[in-house]
């Protein structure tokens, strides 16, 4: 079978779907499910009034999947209130990241997005106070192994995930958007200083529009393991389309990327959202992202990302896809830590896997 990414085709030209045959719909639903994009496609179709014209067998799956984000939105609003209550006494402002931020700020990127954890960003100096306050309100650490605790606390940009003992909600408390050991070092203080208040709430903030884009880009192109690569790319697409309605956005974005040391992730973000999802990116923005990789490296990155950003489904893969995903996994670790630390970390993980198996 020829490798085809039906998901991005469906998201960019939903009208074309109506002429698809049933077996193609079948494959589209499978790829979407695998890419965690079934709810988002349902909303894209509903927005354009096309859902009623989808074959009923496929429509049933779309409608079923669309319930999850709908329910999740309510849950996120409730959890956010609980976190605000927990942090009230600490004097720390609550800055939400990613999914929860998109929901609370009422952004298009929240629509049909399914996520498991709520991410927040706090100043490193406030980490202990925040952790203690969250513990007092029922969130407990999840990693009980001493190595894991140390791994997170010494090298990572977040605490080990905290799970609420009753509601089971999981919080990722970040003090930076990249590991402390990573090559790029965006300063958290700058992000926090620019955070904007969510209208109609007290003490609740999200990152400034440019920073939201840069964080999403960094997560996808500098840090992540791309399990949800295409889903994250659709986030970036939605963020870019929405944020760029503000005048001056395309001038501020590259300037901010330079300030935060995040030009390279931004370069990739603009390149691949445009190539895969047709995101409108003006030429001026691309000129300003001077941090273009050398030609050979870029050719290699294209070969890798254009494969890894497809749905992780056999029907969308070619002979090189497994290698591309493996290389990205290695790259993400390579960018995360200096070589010696990485070697040490991988050794410990390998030994521990043996421990679990025996």
């Amino acid at each position: 079978m020829i490798a085809r990414d039906l998901v991005s085709a469906a998201l960019t030209t939903p009208e074309a779907l109506l002429s698809w045959e049933l077996p193609t719909w079948d494959l589209l639903i499978r790829q979407c499910r695998r890419a965690n994009l079934l709810p988002r496609l349902a909303l894209v179709l509903a927005d354009r009034g096309l859902l009623e014209r989808v074959p009923p067998q496929a429509r049933a799956h779309l409608l079923a999947a669309a319930l999850t984000p709908q329910r999740q939105e309510k849950a996120v609003r409730w959890e956010t209130q609980q976190i605000l209550a927990a942090l009230a006494a600490t004097g720390t402002k609550l800055v939400l990241l990613k999914g929860a931020a998109y929901v609370m700020a009422g952004m298009a990127a929240a629509r049909g997005r399914v996520f498991a954890d709520i991410d927040l960003l706090v100043p490193r100096a406030a980490l202990h106070v925040v952790e203690a306050a969250l513990m007092m309100h029922g969130w407990m650490t999840t990693h009980h192994n001493a190595y894991d605790q140390r791994y997170y606390r010494r090298w990572m940009h977040e605490l080990p995930p905290m799970r609420h003992v009753i509601r089971q909600s999981v919080l990722d408390v970040h003090h930076a958007i990249l590991p402390q050991t990573a090559r790029l070092k965006p300063e958290t203080d700058k992000l926090l200083a620019a955070a904007v208040a969510v209208p109609g709430t007290a003490n609740l903030y999200v990152l400034a529009p440019e920073d939201m884009v840069l964080h999403s880009a960094t997560h996808l192109f500098h840090d992540g393991e791309l399990d949800n690569g295409l889903r994250d790319l659709t986030d970036l697409d939605a963020l870019l389309r929405e944020c760029s309605r503000e005048p001056g956005f395309w001038l501020r974005l590259p300037a901010r990327a330079a300030e935060l040391d995040l030009l390279r992730p931004l370069f990739y973000a603009l390149r691949y959202t445009r190539r895969i999802l047709g995101t409108p990116v003006p030429a001026v923005a691309e000129l300003l992202t001077k941090n273009k990789p050398p030609r050979l490296l870029l050719a290699l990155m294209d070969a890798i990302f254009l494969r890894a950003l497809r749905p992780d489904h056999p029907s969308a893969a070619d002979a090189w896809t497994p290698a591309a995903r493996k290389l990205l996994y290695l790259r993400s670790h390579w960018l995360r830590m200096p070589p010696l630390l990485l070697a040490w970390h991988l050794t410990v993980k390998a030994l521990r896997r043996k421990e679990v198996e025996t």
């Binding site: 077996p23 079948d26 499978r30 695998r34 067998q57 049933a60 079923a64 999947a65 319930l67 709908q70």
Partner: protein, 304 residues
Amino acid sequence: MIVADLSIRDLLGLLAGPGLNLRTGQFVNRIFSGLKSVGEGLQLLYADYPLSESDDFTDFHVHVERPRDLRRWFRPQVLFRFDATVPFKPLPLHHAFPMLEWGLNWCVSSHCHQYLVIHAAVVEKHGHALILPAPPGSGKSTLCAGLVTRGWRLLSDELTLIDPASGQLVPVPRPIGLKNASIEVIRRFAPGAVIGRSSSDTMKGTVAHMQAPRASVLCAKETALPGWIVFPRFIAGSPARLQPWPKAHAFMRLADNAFNYSLHGAAGFEALAQMVDRSLCFEFSYGDLEEAAALFAELRPPRA
């Protein structure tokens, strides 16, 4: 075309090749497996089930296969794969057929949120459905198997699917899972029942599946409205006894047994409340299946 029209060779050929497009109620499952035990189980227990065309839409692509590792020779295992995802840990190879059954249940309970899905058996007579929600070990499946051999139509022995918009119950008739002593009880109760091969030492003990009555398979697209909600409890030596049960309690116990109650929010509450409202609710204890079947035969439907 139905499964019985295929020779075992053709059936195994489809399973090992392009897949068997098995229709269960309104769902189309495409099943792939290179295992003979899976083919034999399907041939015996799904004989009356229709096959769907290969260019039809498939709801669930499922594979029951041996994992590719060194355990091929040493305590071989079997894996359930849902399209490109492996949702469960592998099981011993001789649990292949029950694993397919559990996997197909999981496909419905974790994806079909267009319905409110309750963990309950559901059977129907004269247009009224009898819903039997209960935790494992309560004798729910035994009772369900007993009733469908005495004139009740099987909608499902595991999954009650409620369409929130209409309140109708949607059938997914599939083989009924029997456990441990129940297998022998049903063999004695209904000597004509077709029961597949037993698999021992599963996480539920010894399990075997009973064929769904042919009439239930033929009516697999006919929905039903709820008539009774009965919470069964098997107590050895106890007489068969139906006790009226408060509707508020029935509601809470149904919600506890639902897979996706909270996902539906207010609509889920409405659908469940409506179902409880239009049903007679009972708690039921029994020690003898014969006595239980006689009592249910006398059950009066709720007034319209």
